[in-house]
Subunit: 705 residues, 2 copies
Amino acid sequence: MKFSLALAGLFISFILAAQSPLPGLMPYPKSAILQDGKYRLNASFNASCIADDKDDILYSSVNRIFHGINRKTSLYFKQQYIKPGIVGKTSLIVKVAKKSDMFRGVDESYTLQVNSEGIMVDAATSIGAIRGLETLQQLLQKDTAGFYIPFVLIKDVPRFSWRGLMIDVARHFIPIDVIKRNIDAMATVKMNVLHLHLTDDEGFRIESKLFPKLHEKGSNGQYFTQDQVKDIISYARLRGIMVVPEFDMPGHTRAWFAAYPEFASAPGPYEPGPRFSVPANSNEPINIAAIMSVPTPTIDPTKEEVYKFLDKFFGEMANLFPSPYIHIGADENNGMAWKNNPAIVSFMNQKGIKDVHELQAYFVKRMYGIVQKHKKTMIGWEELNSPDLPKDVVVQKWIADGGFMKSHGKPLDIAIKGNPVIISTGFYTDHFLPAYIHYQNPNIPATDHPNIWGGEAAQWTEIADAGNIELRIWPRTGAIAERLWSPANVNNNENMYDRLFHLSKQLDEQGLQHIASYERGLRRLSNGNEYYNLKNLTDVLAPVRVMKNLFGRLGNPTQLSNNSSPFVEGGDIIFPDSEVKRTFRKNIAKYLDKKDPETEFLLKQQLELWIANHNVLIKAGMMQSGYANLEAHSANLQKISVTGLKALEKIKTGQVFSADEMTEIQKELKDARMPHGNAELDVVLEIESLIKQTLLPEPKMYPFF
Amino acid sequence: MKFSLALAGLFISFILAAQSPLPGLMPYPKSAILQDGKYRLNASFNASCIADDKDDILYSSVNRIFHGINRKTSLYFKQQYIKPGIVGKTSLIVKVAKKSDMFRGVDESYTLQVNSEGIMVDAATSIGAIRGLETLQQLLQKDTAGFYIPFVLIKDVPRFSWRGLMIDVARHFIPIDVIKRNIDAMATVKMNVLHLHLTDDEGFRIESKLFPKLHEKGSNGQYFTQDQVKDIISYARLRGIMVVPEFDMPGHTRAWFAAYPEFASAPGPYEPGPRFSVPANSNEPINIAAIMSVPTPTIDPTKEEVYKFLDKFFGEMANLFPSPYIHIGADENNGMAWKNNPAIVSFMNQKGIKDVHELQAYFVKRMYGIVQKHKKTMIGWEELNSPDLPKDVVVQKWIADGGFMKSHGKPLDIAIKGNPVIISTGFYTDHFLPAYIHYQNPNIPATDHPNIWGGEAAQWTEIADAGNIELRIWPRTGAIAERLWSPANVNNNENMYDRLFHLSKQLDEQGLQHIASYERGLRRLSNGNEYYNLKNLTDVLAPVRVMKNLFGRLGNPTQLSNNSSPFVEGGDIIFPDSEVKRTFRKNIAKYLDKKDPETEFLLKQQLELWIANHNVLIKAGMMQSGYANLEAHSANLQKISVTGLKALEKIKTGQVFSADEMTEIQKELKDARMPHGNAELDVVLEIESLIKQTLLPEPKMYPFF
């Protein structure tokens, strides 16, 4: 088997531009050259490695991908396991120069070549080989003659070294099987850091053998045992992913105080539970600033016992988590609990600490000493930033400059000052934003800087739980993964969406529950009956965006700290993006441009479907179902679809709506934009363009925090 | 809050007969009296227990059911957790006389009363309370005014004390999350024994700390750690389920010999893998008798080291599993490996052991001593039966009298002789039989006997894996659970099916993956596209029945001992029963009886759908899809549906088909009965009845092993 990585002598059919003929690839590689020809798979498809025999990460990954392809193709490969040693002529050779675990900055590059001789993945390290094998799996295609991999030469390397996903397992506990499925999906899109937010007011989600009261009193029985943590770490390790633990402090610590009220800034007793509560069914507008300034459970930073205790606890955790990083949170401490405690105020006076910001810096400094002692690098949310912050502390950005909250520095400024930066601003998947918003994230500086390590998608769980978290994170996080892996100029929204929906199907095929959870949710709303017509509606809804949704629902006891909260309403199970919406949007844009009969037909068909659909739903007894709160959307969709059909007629006959008609239509559109059941109708802009015969507006941006 | 369990003074609207107005209940209670009225649920719904404060099984179960109802109703109950202590006026009171773990014979009875005062579950033990709470959850109903529990008085007690599910985790490894979901489903239908078949030729699936080579060499990395085993046991315990381990020997032991070839009856080396292989794509009929008489890896029963080793190993396992039972398998040892070994033959001569059956009895006796030493009761498959079998050994029946294999005694005979009996004959869910077959299982003796402990559903995994095992076991096992719980006279097939499909929806709602796996399979076959039309076809297919399917597929390397075998073809993901089929069957029966226009309309609608459906599938490019091997079924369904429509016309006009027409039709029906893609068209009998204007034939029975 001969592989030539040189291009000389090869006929190159065409160079891939942003419009890719390799729709399965996400993130898109740095360089991919498609060539004429297909490598066909049959039952003799086999594999071997040129690598260190002891490279368990590599062998585990090769077997995983090999069995995945076997499963996808149903070819029943004769080779059962890939073990060290060359097995004669092999279809796939994986060559690794150096065995390596995942660490930040490890060489993740690879070359993948497919030609008539076979397939070669060539990488400097085991981790690079894993990335290449994931690409290989995404290249698998099918035609009438069966499954094949197109001839291709890919040379790939990531843009950023830190490509993470943060999961909040504290607000609602997320069990190990869900975590593992997320790890599988992360591996598919080449992410390399799983950041677990393990503690918060609502729960202390990790077993401590030194201080068992922490998880016993702080979790209502819902926590990871240390064996489960080891299981997660090892599962992630074999997929080239590092697990970084977060213990959020000094705020967000109510659950700790259930066990140790003496460490709090205000007297107890405490029980795990939400930081603040918003009155249910309140009709008054929510005053977020007021809510955020309430005193909340906070560690007392003046007590030496606190640091002694945290030193021991961090020692235990530093030992459990092999990652060189520990995240101490440090976010959203408004200092009110400190200001209200005379002993703390007197401590400040004594030490010359002039305000709660300086006291926070004092606490961070003490924690820095502890983290250093246990030979780890400290990470914190951006509120840990201060003028004297040591240069080896990593700052995780989450607040937008000019946003609602006070930013603690621009990413590039922090980087230039000398601290490494991880960017989560604009990557909050719990804000229900469509994927293109994250994809075009303006918070990633235009210029790369060695201290900008990368970014993290962040999924908080105030209003998500084990039953819907997969559909909240995926497939959108694929767009974030691509932003962090691919060159900055891979940035075409339409192209990204084509590949994102492809990815969604791949993740489903591999066992992720995002689509299954959506469809189970639809069955649940339909009392177990056929949900096909309901899906016609929910496919064009979107959850209410950003904080309106979050804060609008905090009044309900949604933060019940177990994994069975009732996040089962329409708004809880719908995706911010859908293929139906994208296709409709594309067709509207095309028709407004070309006025071609084919697109006109497709638009008519879609509008007529929505009109008919509402009648079917009503007939099926929508009001008796679990989705009565979506009825208004269905009725509105019918109404604006009728108007949409009329608009098509006007365009064809060169007419426009009269002023009187427009008055009526404006009212109709206004109604259609109203949220119901925590959901919004998400095709109104498109139909409005058709009615007004104007170009589609630019994709809407949303304010970040 | 006053509860009267006496019936005096209550208006009893009607006594429930086999036709139940409580469609959610499965298994059906011994006595259920529905009364006029509904107890309505709202956010104030709350609960407390009159019980031992330390009853963790009870409190865990009450919380689980309470949160389940909260989730199902989306009412956001104000009470978050149910903890010891009465919380004022409570909607639900659970009263338990005595805290208890699950053990065979524990009092599982309960009384459940719902009236205007509230709900009371009253049980002698924690286990009885769990069973009652599951019934409560199944009573939850909905009308236009919201969710409610009907006023009812239920007094319930199981018929059998052993109601088990056996899962073979050896042939294909079944990971812990899938096991836990099965435990959830078992709890729903009040099953109380999870029997894990942990070792077989294909894999040694449990960590041994004493002999780590066993799982290291015998599992290809796919096994339960002891921590996971403890996790499973504790998860099951909290749901009133006991976990019984099986270590199959002296046959079915190839995987052991990968580590210890010296314990085998024939020289090694060994690797875990199937016991025998059938040549792939062989066109010759499969000679099962010949296959079954091949020498297979078997423990050498003559070596003292073997018993020393097994004594230590069983000591370790006896300690790990708290259940008082250990299952030693002992099935399917044809003795050929012994006959072929001169040293074993000479041992037999020396000891006066006259044949391999006696040698098997010798081995069983030695193992009995070891199991006794570790204070456990021994269970084995029926081949461990022999004239001298000690009376405290439990015999698990799996072979039918008069079936293909040699039976080792009728259940009642064994029971009368003095050995306890567990019946699995007729309860093999891996035989792809419809639920009514198991429901009417003739292997359950008509007379109950104290030594007939009960039965077990059995799911072997030669051709099932983690991806499809839930749809293989469920919902059919609900019918088995009812056979084992409910009185023998609860036996109406139609009524059972109504409740079974209801159960299926309940299990789906709770998170079981049977429907999600089916639909994921359909998406996979459709390359991720809409599968609605494909489902119209697959809903009326059934997997090829019994051994034809199993043996027909052993030629493929389907026993790849990991959890990613490609069981993703049409035949792998379809259910033996479907609601569409049952409804069609019911309508055919009704129409043949009444000739009423309403039923005629429904039949026409269905037949026309099938006719149109084939055209859509062909247009959608069936041949390019993953389900090309189902095309013949779709075409046949279209053909016989056309004939079915003609038959409806004939009936209406009082005509019959001519002899010539019938000749053509017989050919059509014969084609339609042919299997393709491991599946059979499952509405042929029904359409045939319509054509012939005869009554529907009695439900078909199938031969058991």
